[in-house]
Symmetry: C2
Subunit: 367 residues, 2 copies
């Protein structure tokens, strides 16, 4: 049963469609478009497609330095102001497409087909790009939503367990951030790594509808939308500190557990809130348990390095760390933590507790 | 007598102020800002300024490749989301500042102090950036107006004749594009290379007010604003074909003469329009006459190369060249020319006539 809805952005409205078989439709309706695609997926294209730019989906591809050769390739393929760009891939392809489409001849129209669950449940709407500069992760970026988002559920079949887990971590984060009701409804949808397309569609639509509320009320990340950084500031440091061996969605999952530990250690939660957060991190733990190699990775983590990476995050202010944590009855808040040696130690302590706890989740499996 | 007015953009309103002594005011009111400045002007800063990024004002500095080191420098200077950027320089500094401010941490606020007449009369408003990629001139860019434009007339004292001429070529282009009345009023202001500050202020305000009409009615270059490309499509090819020995403003001046020749050769003008355009190019010729080295440059031009550069301009469509030419009573129109060998020859012929004509304008001086 296809689902379709519209998102409002300052640059106009764009349509989100969730269905199977959308790739073939898009190739038909955008004949002549330049296709920007994850290198690993390029074989899925019909043999006749000539205007194709392949992107290797690694962190270094979404960099300001790598934008130049992609732009030059667009030019060499004859792209002009009315050329449409069809981007097919996960978060890295989306970041590259958003950025390149926004600047090429001061902006060309584009469609996005997310191919990971993380892209489908979260990043495909909102219009943000995050681009690295040298070793600075996500130092630059902008807002440039596509003309349409086409979520082809057929891509789910090709995903590995880790990609499904990462996607569900983001989906539950969004639903939790939206409201206690939305979070309960998400759990009632019985999200799982091996869910069938119809169930996946329900989760995708629920997550995107929840995210829609945030991006329509706060397109440019000034207030409400900042709550969607839940798990992210803690998570980014885990990605950076492991040279991205811990992938984004998984890092967000762990980051939510760090936030829970921070909230508990600093007595931010009332009893009802504690229970609510524990339902969330219980679900996250169930998901993370499916990654047998994660425990080893966590045991070998250098917590000082992670804390240092956290310290370098651009979302902090000069005198305050900025973190999103559950408070009181469990609702999220953006909280400032004094950027002193003592503040740093409270952050480090939360990381340590979460990491030690998660390093044990699949102990039973390992015996 | 300071002048001040507001420009509306989709991102908000911004104030334009024209006066003397504005640099010192800006340094005071934006203490703590990072200063992005033309290398040659950096000595004008007080000795104490520490957060300074120097830009060499050459074409290669406004490139996608060169954006990365500037962004990294901002990060090393500790710039965060609330850091203000103060950009001081001509068109190249403005392009770099617009682009870098728009992407740094997804956008920081900035002020622009134009230091060339061309910057003051034209490019300082409108919010566009034009950025090169490898050998492709202006292939990427975006729209990101500053929070305020501060036109400090004191900078005019440091300008060479060629810079004043380039600025006046842009100013007269804007006034001519706006209306016959505006063009007459511009001429009545007696624009000249050695004008005193009060006269320069009148020209600056007149030109910016005329440009304001275009950018407020058509911020994103869809229709009316395209008329401001008058002289530009022809001019860009002259810049590119001489490796920028012919500077932008001068190239626009010559480009308007090429457009006039095109209109005459293709019988686009009524007698009244002819007279009107001749007043315009007569003024341009008077200005260009003051550049004794221009005639030699024009005589050594490779017209085939210029035509080839014209052919490569991104503003054309697949099947049409797009040029702005005077028609009928002299008003400008965006015209399509079939992109055939024959079409190319009509363009080449207009270049040839204009170049031969301008190569002779200072013949008397040379005897």
């Amino acid at each position: 049963m296809p689902e379709s809805f519209e998102i409002s952005a300052s640059s106009g409205r764009y349509q989100v469609t969730v269905d199977s078989g959308l790739l073939a439709d898009a190739l038909r309706s955008h004949a002549g478009a330049v296709i920007l695609i994850d290198d690993r997926l390029a074989d899925a294209l019909p043999a006749g497609e000539k205007k194709v730019i392949r992107v290797t989906a690694v962190e270094s591809s979404k960099s300001l330095e790598q934008a130049a050769p992609i732009v030059a390739k667009l030019r060499e393929l004859g792209a002009h102001r009315r050329t449409h760009l069809l981007a097919i891939g996960g978060g890295i392809v989306q970041d590259v497409a958003t950025f390149v489409a926004s600047i090429y001849m001061r902006g060309i129209s584009w469609s996005y087909l997310p191919t990971t669950l993380l892209g489908m449940v979260d990043s495909c709407v909102g219009g943000k790009s995050s681009i690295n500069v040298y070793d600075y992760k996500n130092l630059v970026g902008n807002f440039y939503p596509p003309a349409e988002v086409l979520i082809d559920l057929d891509f789910l079949r090709s995903l590995k367990a880790e990609q499904m887990i990462g996607g569900l971590c983001e989906a539950v984060k969004i639903c939790y951030a939206r409201s206690a009701e939305e979070f309960s409804a998400y759990l009632a949808d019985a999200p799982a790594i091996d869910m069938a397309p119809a169930r996946a569609e329900r989760i995708v639509v629920r997550s995107l509808r929840a995210k829609q509320w945030f991006i329509e009320i706060d397109e440019f990340d000034q207030k409400e939308r900042l709550l969607l950084n839940f798990g992210h500031t803690f998570g980014h440091a885990l990605e950076a500190g492991t040279e991205f061996r811990i992938s984004h969605g998984v890092a967000v999952g762990i980051g939510m557990v760090v936030a829970e530990e921070y909230a508990k250690q600093n007595a931010l939660l009332a009893p009802a809130g504690r229970k609510c957060v524990e339902r969330l991190t219980g679900h996250v733990e169930l998901l993370l348990k499916e990654l047998p190699q994660l425990a080893d990775e966590l045991r070998s983590l250098d917590i000082d390095l992670i804390t240092e990476k956290f310290d370098n995050d651009k979302k902090h202010q000069a005198d305050q760390y900025r973190i999103v944590v559950p408070k009181g009855n469990g609702a999220l808040e953006l909280v400032g933590v004094a950027r002193t040696e003592q503040g740093r130690m409270t952050i480090r302590k939360a990381y340590r507790a979460a990491i030690e706890r998660l390093a044990k989740i699949n102990q039973l499996l390992m015996i």
